[in-house]
């Protein structure tokens, strides 16, 4: 099953990237995520591993995932090592006016689970899709608010400097 959510953020790709590539921030903005723990020496980058769970229905579903694609400021993709079969991707693309189009994709399933696996993927899809949509909205709010605070701080700094 494949679900995705996207949104335009009023910030540069690098600012958004700083947020989505930092595993310590995941619990702050990713909806439904109950853990995102670093399990590798390098917390970021190709080969980084995380133990993650997302609450869907009566279980916290997830497992160990590994980053398999890392293009600074543009793409980060991960795939499951254990647990639920999954492949996820953050895809950031620059838009005119200093904006960034953010897309979060997730393909998931349980290979070999047959008919019941097929049914459960579809039953769970609205919840997973909802988590993804909330996640990109939280991301937009956090990045834009942080940017606003930084600009205000910079203005205050400039004001103090000139007075």
């Amino acid at each position: 099953m494949r679900v995705s959510a996207s949104i335009d953020v009023a910030a540069s790709p690098q600012v958004v990237w700083d947020q989505v590539s930092d595993p310590t921030r995941y619990l702050d903005f990713m909806s439904g995520i109950t853990r995102w723990e670093v399990c590798s020496e390098d917390p970021r980058g190709l080969g980084a591993r995380y133990r993650m769970s997302m609450r869907v229905g009566s279980a916290e579903i997830g497992g160990l995932v590994e980053v398999i694609e890392w293009v600074e400021g543009r793409d980060m993709a991960w795939t499951s090592v254990t647990g639920l079969d999954q492949r996820g991707r953050w895809r950031l693309r620059e838009r005119p006016g200093g904006r960034t189009h953010v897309e979060l994709r997730l393909s998931y399933g349980v290979a070999g689970a047959g008919f019941w696996g097929w049914i459960s993927e579809r039953v769970g899809a609205p919840t997973v899709r909802g988590h993804l949509q909330h996640t990109v909205r939280h991301l937009k709010r956090q990045v834009e608010q942080e940017q606003t605070r930084r600009r205000a701080a910079a203005r205050r700094q400039a004001g103090v400097g000139t007075s």
């Binding site: 853990r35 009566s58 579903i61 497992g63 647990g83 639920l84 696996g117 459960s120 769970g124």
Partner: protein, 306 residues
């Protein structure tokens, strides 16, 4: 079968080899025959029968039942130590069909992964029931001290229900009561193996049927306690039987909302000294669990609905 082998097998499955060798009159004879039949069906416990691939393939089906039918909710999984052996002690509900176990097993396997060895102790009769052999692939083994010790020595997480058949058939009006019947074997086990205890409290399971009585007197009169290790012969109002005596064939559980909460681990020697008093530990664990159960019960507005 040589006597020694029979005795060993009986011990592994949690009962003595000679307990089914007597019985009063005709009824006793019939029950002795039934006991022998059940005993012969009880598989020799083998931890290797747990099959992670089988569990993984069946998690979606379990997830559907737990999420849609029982609206299961499991809290506090982060309290369970990430690694190493741990003894999880639960209150048991739901008659012979125990949805709390199914909901918790799903949550545990989804959270920690099917790769983490996880066993559950169950009554011999459960494992010998036709159609329930798949439980062994989920890691269910016959309730005995020997099997529990082996599971913990292998480094696995182990779920036990000290109240067993006594607690699981308590009347509906005692549904929000933790009742281990004074059984303290789990404390000795935790001390012997030097593993932490994680209390696992569930609510809702005893609302899946209208349990009326444990039928302890009836069980004793029929000699079931000696022959089948059954201290109860419960009577309930349950689907599809309406009046359900014994619950031997199970029942269709009502879709009661099941909530389970795992509490922080209790390290017995750290908290109670090098030689903990069993009664003190028992009182502590059951009090903690009862307080949690009271809190979970207070969140519910109506039986079954949750």
């Amino acid at each position: 079968m040589p006597e020694a082998v029979t005795a060993e097998r009986a011990a592994r499955n949690g009962h003595s080899a000679d307990e089914d060798s007597s019985g009063p009159s005709l009824v006793g004879g019939l029950l002795s025959g039934l006991a022998r039949s059940v005993s012969s069906r009880i598989p020799t416990a083998d931890l290797d029968e747990r099959d992670p691939d089988y569990i993984r393939d069946n998690l979606p089906r379990q997830w559907l039942a737990a999420s849609l039918y029982f609206r299961g909710e499991v809290r506090g999984l982060g309290n369970i130590p990430e690694k190493g052996p741990v003894l999880m002690v639960g209150n048991h509900s739901g008659g012979n069909i125990t949805p709390d176990t199914a909901v918790f097993t799903l949550a545990f396997c989804a959270y920690f992964g099917v790769e983490r060895a996880f066993y559950q102790l169950a009554h011999n009769l459960v494992l010998s029931m036709p159609g329930l052999s798949f439980l062994r692939k989920f890691g269910t083994v016959a309730a005995s001290h020997e099997n529990a010790r082996k599971a913990l020595e292998s480094g696995a997480a182990l779920l036990v229900y000290p109240g067993g058949d006594y607690e699981v058939h308590r009347p509906f009006w005692e549904r929000n009561r933790v009742d281990f019947d004074g059984r303290k074997g789990f404390i000795r086990l935790a001390l012997d193996q030097d593993v932490p205890i994680v209390p696992v409290v569930s609510v809702g399971g005893q609302e899946t049927a209208l349990f009326l009585t444990r039928g302890e007197g009836l069980s004793k009169a029929l000699g079931l306690d000696r022959l089948l290790r059954l201290k109860v012969l419960p009577i309930s109002i349950a689907l599809p039987w309406i009046v359900n005596v014994g619950d031997m064939l199970g029942h269709i559980p009502l879709p009661a909302k099941i909530t389970v909460e795992a509490l922080p681990p209790i390290h017995l020697r750290q908290e109670f000294g090098p030689e903990p008093d069993l009664d003190e530990v028992y009182d502590h664990v059951t009090r903690l669990m009862q307080e949690t159960l009271d809190a979970l019960a207070s969140e519910r507005t109506l039986p079954v609905i949750g």
